[in-house]
Symmetry: C2
Subunit: 332 residues, 2 copies
DNA sequence: TTGAAAGCGCTAACAC
DNA sequence: GTGTTAGCGCTTTCAA
């Protein structure tokens, strides 16, 4: 900046004014400065500036996801980037990988870089570790799951209603015995999906005890085995509801292996690529990661810009997408 | 830091030494400082430190991808993160979205945040705009495509050999008339895949003129239409090779619509989720984004740490994965 | 409309 | 082993 000032024959503060597009600079000096900065290929140092700037903003936020390569997370990431890059805000993205210790160390890494705010997918059983910083008024928005042990904005899918939609749909198609295949029970979202599903069936007059439930399925293979077990049991269900993509894939495998893919109905939670290219197409309760990301970005920016209303949880609805597998009637 | 120093009853430089784990501090003072920093919930400001640090490193790198939500890109991102987070380096990720202007503006955003280096997927026809900075010795590694107009490290898939593998495989299965469905011809990788494919067939004695080629297919729908057109033409091919995922999906749709999915062979470039759940499973030439990301991260860090050997292009081989669609013999 | 001086949080250089 | 001073690139304050 000194060099640019010298070349343009002005003071360093004038260069600062021009680069920050502050008013109060004559057009002629502005041009001189612009020319000089172009010649020296000068670029304002955003972080150095934030050091002395009263707002202390670094125009940087942190984003913590289960994994940047998980399609659902990646879609959220993209939506946030779209909203934030317009405002000149850059995103630090990091993956958690189901390791609670990483949650804390990644948050520390963000804090050490003085992010203006963070969007986090909570994974540890308690998010109180963010509190000391949070009391520093660092804006935080949680996504996918609500935080435990601290109050903050959250943007989540309506998991319970999504589960209920699946139950109701399969009921309307005529099913009375529907199996549930679920994720780890210590995951809040998985519990909500099951709750919505079970409660809805219960309200429709189906006894809870009669619902085959298999949980703690964490990958395709465990889901496949659980589905096979359920489907080859004494009094097998005529339809399945799977709480998550990998579980859905496992169910698809099992149904196909048993030759039941056109006999037993399937509704999966969460949409996926090629869901319409398999046989039959898979009916899903779709989440809307792009809405979650956009809303999280908007809330975060509002907080950063001073919004002080009480923390709130924003709920994003699911959408049922009918593709065939969920419309198979029960075998006569 | 001043506050911590005051609380611990030491000088500010001692705090700096402790926080940076520099040697030459007695264990007792170290403990005092650690305690004080814990009490004040103090976190070193990485960026402020870089200002005066002789290396000027910010422990931050920029990553520019076609889109953070594209599975191939996301996998590269993940692999880079894995390698870099171990070294305490944070990643700024940004999406390009096929807009050449964004390439320049995102690079400027990275530079304004004083990243230690960048990994870029080039998209503009010329990357010379990075040169002025590059001459500042800012390390840059290109991925997926080699840069044009400047010399720098690059990590790319062996696209030509991948195309040749597909050609050879289909030839060995007995096909003599194989259609090619390709992406935009202004994309280097697409051109390479075609070149490898065509050259291999040519070497196998198939006249180039007899190969049906459809290009500039940018999405599923355009690919589907092109495939239908080719397959319903006078003398249709008995096999197809598609240069990219979306094109592969379009071909799958077309084959299924025409009832040819068990009659006409298909090999796709690039692997995808559920490729084994469709009917038939899709044989692909798989790329290895995790290797590309890991290698790019390794090269970038080496450059940042002073490696000054001449720029080099690293080539990551493809792997053919046989799943059924590519093994369908030509109709008698 | 412009610029000089102080200082943001930190590290380098050097003194003690 | 420890502290002091200067200064990184910038913005703030305030005077001209």
């Amino acid at each position: 900046m000194r060099h640019v000032a010298a070349l343009a024959g002005v003071g360093i503060k004038t260069v600062s004014r021009v680069m920050n597009e502050e008013p109060g600079v004559s057009e002629s000096t502005r041009q001189k400065v612009l020319l000089a900065s172009k010649q020296l290929n000068y670029e304002l140092d955003v972080t150095a500036g934030s050091l002395r700037r009263s707002s202390r903003r670094t125009q940087t936020v942190g984003l913590l996801l289960p994994s940047v390569s998980n399609p659902f997370s990646a879609e959220i990431h993209r939506a946030m980037e779209d909203a934030l890059s317009l405002k000149g805000v850059a995103v630090f993205a990091a993956s958690l990988d189901d390791e609670p210790e990483r949650e804390e160390s990644m948050v520390r890494a963000f804090l050490g870089r003085r992010v203006d705010g963070m969007v986090l997918t909570p994974i540890a059983s308690n998010q109180a570790h963010v509190i000391p910083e949070h009391s520093r008024d660092l804006p935080v928005v949680f996504i996918d799951r609500e935080p435990v042990g601290l109050k903050a904005d959250a943007v989540v899918t309506d998991n319970a209603v999504g589960g209920a939609k699946a139950a109701q749909h399969l009921y309307e198609v005529g099913h009375r015995k529907i199996g549930y295949l679920g994720d780890r029970t210590d995951i809040q979202t998985a519990r909500e999906r099951r709750r919505g599903f079970i409660d809805a069936l219960s309200e429709l007059g189906i006894s809870t005890a009669s619902i085959p439930v298999r949980e703690n399925l964490h990958d395709v293979e465990s889901a496949r085995l659980a589905a096979i077990e359920i489907l080859t049991s004494e009094n097998p269900p005529t339809a399945l509801f799977s709480s998550q993509n990998l579980v859905t894939f496992g169910c698809m495998r099992a149904l196909r292996e048993l030759g039941l893919n056109h006999t037993v109905a399937l509704v999966g939670f969460d949409d996926f690529t090629l869901s319409d290219m398999v046989d039959p197409g898979v009916t899903v309760i779709a989440q809307h990661p792009e809405k979650i990301g956009a809303l999280a970005a908007e809330r975060l920016m509002a907080r950063i810009e001073g919004d002080a209303q009480p923390p709130k949880t924003y709920i994003v609805e699911t959408t049922m997408i009918i593709r065939g597998s969920g419309e198979i009637p029960p075998a006569a």
